[in-house]
């Protein structure tokens, strides 16, 4: 018995000794609370709006802001809160109901889509018009997207492993998303090598909005003399008013709308990073993404080449329909876009960063992407941080090239056949390449001397990029960011 007690005391004393021996200073993962504020203004224009079947104005502006607060809970744990709000105004989305801008529905618009649909029947015959080239005034012309993300990460005492989790929520008028994620990172080889694993699930759902003529047709049980269509003339390709009770009248090709409103995304990511020298490091990323559910956008129209065309508006403008000169005639949709209910994506990417000298570094990135919708793409970018005044100021000239092949389901306006199972005229799924040119500026104060209340300004970023796509879409974005550190 005495022997057993002696062994126990001895073991406890070893434990106590080992505790003292490892009681060395460990740097906190995050010293102080940090706050990042980023705002951006984005504008684009083009001639291939998906809402109007692959032709029409793509004019869009978006103002977005985000705040990220990172709080050290103790030496090893960080809690992060991120909130984003984005408000956009889109000419193409406005044309979900292109007839809003017409005479009768203009006055007293209360921005209620349902009322907007019904209001067309108040119009005098022949006065109802719209155009894919003109922004409408309905509820869908703008929206606000909000997003919240909460994350937690824990680093081991020796800082060789990090484990984390996050939950997110996003909402816009026709879409809701709930996300869950987890990640694990292991560092070894004296922190020269790093392997990371990440998994995310997004459980999203549509609150679908449809093109006015299609949802209205369903609402009035196919009666073209009721509801939205009452008192509204429908024209054929020659501009003649059709007999709405006759045999050859307009009707949507498929009146079944979104059946499964969910869209789930499952992604797994593997990353490998390696220090190559005192001035160079590389990382390789592999993602595997599976999506299930309603993967098409119910707002987007499709026009078939093998079905007769029907219009509402000014008959004399039909011959100019695909030209931006058309301001007062709109072609009734054959269907909404239809896409498979599964998609499997594999992107593989790599970053290589090299410090050239005290003043210049090179940041490079390449990605290859493939999916089972027949799309393949290459992305390559380079950025050249140039430091001035001992790193207080940095300039970031940058260039990005991107190309992609077309999806198996893409065809332009009036080029699809109604015999196809799947079809879209969304040019974001077409074949194109793009060039993006940018310049950034950064001011850094490592001592955060400039104070705002209890926060010191650590850095200020400003960045401008111009995006030019081979199908004519052009965009610009300005972003500004400020980083504060709490005293």
């Amino acid at each position: 018995m005495k022997k057993q007690i002696s062994i126990l005391v001895l073991m406890i004393s070893f434990y106590g000794f080992s505790q003292n021996a490892t009681n060395t200073y460990t740097k906190r993962v995050l010293e102080n609370t940090e706050v990042d504020l980023i705002s951006s203004f984005y504008g684009q224009d083009g001639d291939n709006a998906a809402v109007t079947g692959g032709i029409g104005t793509e004019k869009l502006t978006d103002i977005a802001s985000t705040i990220t607060v990172s709080i050290p809970l103790n030496a090893n744990d960080i809690f992060t809160i991120d909130a984003t709000i984005s408000a956009y105004s889109s000419a193409s989305s406005s044309n979900l109901n292109p007839f809003d801008a017409s005479g009768a529905s203009r006055g007293g618009d209360d921005d209620d889509e349902e009322d907007d649909n019904k209001s067309a029947k108040k119009n005098v015959a022949g006065r109802v018009n719209g155009s894919p080239w003109v922004e409408s005034s309905g509820a869908s012309k703008g929206d606000v997207w909000v997003n919240g993300d909460i994350g937690y990460s824990h680093s081991s005492e020796n800082r060789n492993s990090i484990i984390g989790a996050n939950v997110s929520f996003a909402k816009e008028f026709d879409y809701t998303s709930i996300g869950l994620g987890g990640n694990f990172t292991k560092l070894f080889n004296e922190k020269n090598t790093e392997i990371g694993l990440k998994a995310n699930i997004y459980m999203d759902s549509w609150q679908p909005a449809y093109p006015t003529e299609i949802i209205s047709y369903k609402e009035v049980n196919n009666n073209l003399n009721d509801g939205f269509f009452e008192g509204v003339d429908i024209l054929d390709q020659k501009g003649s008013i059709i007999n709405k009770t006759g045999n050859t009248v307009w009707s949507p090709f498929n009146t079944s709308l979104v059946e499964n409103k969910s869209r789930n995304t499952y992604s797994a990511s593997l990353s490998f990073s390696q220090i190559l020298s005192k001035k160079a490091q590389i990382s390789i990323f592999l993602d595997i993404v599976q999506q299930n559910g309603w993967l098409a956008n119910p707002m987007q129209r499709v026009y078939f080449g093998d079905r007769a065309n029907y219009y509402i508006g000014n008959a004399s403008s039909i011959s100019n329909y695909t030209s931006s000169k058309n301001t007062d005639v709109f072609q009734l949709a054959d269907d909404i876009e239809r896409l498979p209910d599964t998609r499997f994506k594999i992107p593989v990417g790599a970053r290589l960063n090299q410090y050239i000298n005290e003043n210049i570094a090179i940041r490079t990135y390449y990605r290859y992407y493939t999916d089972d919708w027949g799309m393949k793409s290459h992305t390559a970018s380079i950025e050249l941080p140039i430091k001035f005044s001992l790193g207080k100021f940095t300039l970031y000239p940058n260039y990005r090239f991107y190309n992609q092949t077309a999806s198996d389901y893409f065809a332009p306006f009036e080029s699809h056949l109604s015999s196809s199972d799947y079809y879209t005229s969304d040019y974001d799924l077409s074949k194109f390449n793009s060039h993006q040119y940018g310049l950034g500026f950064k001011y850094t104060d490592i001592f955060a001397k400039l104070k705002v209340f209890k926060f010191g300004l650590k850095s200020f970023d400003l960045r401008y990029s111009y995006y030019d796509r081979s199908d004519g879409l052009q965009a610009s974005i300005v972003s500004a960011g400020i980083k504060f550190v709490m005293d």
Partner: protein, 70 residues
Amino acid sequence: MIKKTLLVLVILGSFNSCVVVKEYEKVYLNDPDMVLADKKINKFETSFQVYREAASGANGGKSGGGCGCN
């Protein structure tokens, strides 16, 4: 495919032969401009690219979901 996998493995294996860089030698590598991830200031730029292009992911950030985009 097998050739590509072998090539990747050879490249990865060759990294192991690199000289180990000690913590006190990482002054350049610890520069914020050397971070092997997208910068925070690019957040909205990356978002619009995700909306306007089919490809996404493999950049250390989100790889899909959370929006009505492609």
